[in-house]
Amino acid sequence: MSETKELDPSTQFRQLYDQEYRSVYRSIRAVVLDSAAAEDLTQETFVRAYRARDRYTPTAPPGAWLRRIGINLAISYLRRQKLARFLPARLYVAPDRRDYDRAEARDVVTKALTGLSPKLRAAVILHYYDGLTREEIASVLGVPAGTVASRIAKAVAIMRKAIGNDQDWEPKRSSSEGALRGR
């Protein structure tokens, strides 16, 4: 990425969009667990990033900057959804979860993530999928690194239990054991 402070909208920002779209989408989807909402929030992430492009400083990779915007948008979205349930029925139309339940809750990971709070999901995904360190996650979520460590540990404990109890879970011992033996 360029060393210039502002991302050039016509070339660099467009390239960044094409490069990072899928990974930002996946991180957001792992938090909201809803593909349609994740796509909408991903677009909104890039809109916000574009507006704030003059404030971007290249001290961190642009992907981490985009994740910071996206994950926080996703957590705010879930918070709004939670608050909206307190509105009168005529003002709030609950999203139809049947499609989601049918299409998206098939895999063991999605089912295990459903058992976590959005903040735990964010910590898990940023660590295990995006490969961020605890300090980087702390920066993205705006919490101390110790809090990130405890969130990851708590989330892993819940996920191990959930996945271990899942009928669809089949341990693949050969690859991981081989990798461990090789160390």
Binding site: R14, Y17, D18, Y21, R22, Y25, R26, S27, R29, A30, S35, A36, A38, E39, T42, Q43, E44, F46, V47, Y50, R51, D107, V108, V109, T110, V124, I125, Y128, Y129, V156, M159, R160, K161, I163, G164, W169, P171, K172, S175, S176, A179, L180
Partner: protein, 94 residues
Amino acid sequence: MPYVEDRPTQGGIGTPSEEDISRIIRDTVESWKPQRGPDWTDVMTRLASTGPPAWLLYTAASAALVLILITAFLVGSALHIGALAPQEIRSHLP
């Protein structure tokens, strides 16, 4: 007396290890593909259709409310409407 762990950290036979968790998260999340895909035109459309910033909207709404209240007070007192009209003083007190 042998040490017996009451909360085993390694889990049972069917419990995945942290490495398993890491692997299946990566594998599953990598398989998620957006249905509509990257749509740069939509980003541009959203940017073009953006309204005024929230702070400007709230400031304008607050200023308008203050203006309405001041106008109502001035009009009410000039036209002697309601409680802003001169109050009648009773000459004969009970």
